[in-house]
Amino acid sequence: MEAITEPARVALGNRGKALVVDDDITNRLVLKSMLAKSGFEVIQAEDGEQALLKYTAGRPDIVFMDVMMPVMDGFEAARRIKSLAGNEFIPIIFLTALTDEKSLARCIEVGGDDFLSKPFSYTLLEAKIQSMERIRDLNREVAGLYRQIQHEEEIAERIFNGAVTNDNVMLEQIKTLLRPAAIFSGDMLLTTYSPTRDLHVLLADFTGHGLAAALGALPASEVFRTMAGKGFLVEEILRGINRKLHHLLPTGLFMAAQYVCINSDLEYITVCNCGMPDILLLDADGRHISTRIVSRGLPLGIDPDVDYGEIREYRTINRGDRVVLASDGVIEATNINGEMFGEKRFEQALCEKEHETLKSVGEALDVFCKGATPSDDISLVEVQCVPEILPVWDMQVLLHEKAEAKDKPALDENEMADSLEFNLLVEGRFLRNADPVPLIINHLVDSTDCELPRQTLFVILSELFVNALDHGVLELDSALKHRDEGFEHYFKQRDQRLAALDSGQIRISVRLYEMREGGRIDIQVEDSGAGFDYLAWEAKVAEESVPSGRGIYLLHQLCESVTYYAPGNRVFAVYRWDNNG
């Protein structure tokens, strides 16, 4: 660090230490007196071998070297001193009686920095020393700056690891191949769960590397985790990150991203590709690419008004399918001949051996890039769509809370008085982008001091709202989902109907009762649709063969009561919980 602040050292008597190597005592003494006059402290050696010992013990700032000496000559000694000095610049000036060009050239070849033929004048020597000192000071300054940068990158990396990646859900089923080009890479992998147990995965690639690239990592990960954790839709989360980055990052810095959300029934994925190579969907054994999702979006942080609802896609998946995310560093990895690894080699390696997808790519990259320095970060991520990637629904805990609450006597009059009610009406075109559940939950949390079972409430409200919208207002048939590529069709139709929607309404009423050790929430959702055959549904519930769908099953399991009213477009659900359960 000292080199950054210290001015060039020229003050007489303080020029550091000089090592004089010469087997002739007269030469040594003459040079010593010259150097001492110029302000050097002088140490001496009689031959090359002694020079190495003195160098190691005395750590001189500059070396004056004779060439022809017994035991070890000056060429060999210079070579060894340079190697001992490593990255530090220790100038070596050869003082030699040799005058032939070949010998003089050799002085520089072995690592010497300059030479002077004997006999030499004091003025010439002083000029050479000053020139060397200038170079040495510059070297020290550069080394100091380099250390400072390294130090800052290390701090940034620690912050990055602490705040960004340590919060990821780490799972054996999420395989990664990450090779950063700089300590602090421009690539970032984020994973988290939504309240309904959907797994959100985001692979981001920021412009450039190092600190500049890392600037956006903190805000992006913050928005990702907060919004996904509150249950916002993929398009809303991307919109949130995009706005934040656009606001914070200067023009020219942006974030390309691959986003995948695996729904907790392992039936479909929501994907969005913004400026990255194709997202690949592989069969369970990893031998065949069944789908690719090409980039349809601009990288995030460039244009604040992107509608991600228009570019995110849905894909039906089968259990065991593999979703593969890759940064452009994989495809653009370059070998010593300047050739790129390329899409073809990448995909061939990926599907080469059963179940060995990423491993094969890693090996192929090693062979291909042998000897070349990586110029971009390489990030490769594979998520296998198996139940193990999802958190366990703690039904025991959820149902336990409910059972405990059931045993309590009915609410008394006083308790019923402590309540809060609000209504939300979403109508017409506002239904197109409506995502009211996270907002309702936030509002509830903000309105009360008592501890709310957020996740359970989220599941109940989402289920009620989505049913009202999809089947009530949009009149979608859930049987669509069960065909081949059913989810694509289902969501495509849903998007189309939503885009054309300009009438219809959904009214949500929530009433919260706060009690000493828990609470109760009454939720009523009413839609403008024609209603559904709720009698048939109730009959199925009664015989315990609840229709398919995690949502409806859970709804029924979690709520104290779920009641439909004719003609089937109004539902009333009661949920009770006990914080001491």
Partner: protein, 101 residues
């Protein structure tokens, strides 16, 4: 030098040519090529015919050029990218931000 620039006789068009690798190391030269041209309606033609490779910093530099051009009500066009470069521009959807010829 990888970045060269040329101003048309009437001063209305600046042509910037990037040869070889277009990445962070060209940042300063690229900026120098356009920053002093602020005539209203200034045209910027980026000649990519000699560009072999382009990374995300280069895309960032193009955005900065666009911002500069917008500020003087000018226009940016990208010309003659190779197949590989065109693919990068399409993948990042820069083809919607810029006119590509």
């Amino acid at each position: 030098m990888a970045v060269t620039s040329e101003v048309s006789g009437d001063g209305k068009t600046v042509t910037i040519k990037v040869a070889g690798r277009f990445d962070f190391s060209e940042q300063k030269e690229f900026r120098e090529a356009y920053r002093n041209h602020t005539t209203p309606g200034q045209q910027f033609q980026v000649d990519l015919s000699g560009t072999e490779y382009m990374d995300s910093s280069a895309l960032g530099m193009l955005l900065l050029l666009k911002e500069h051009a917008d500020s003087c009500k000018g226009k940016v066009e990208l010309n003659k990218p190779s197949e590989a470069i065109r693919k990068i521009l399409e993948m990042t959807n820069f083809n919607r931000q810029f006119t590509i010829n």
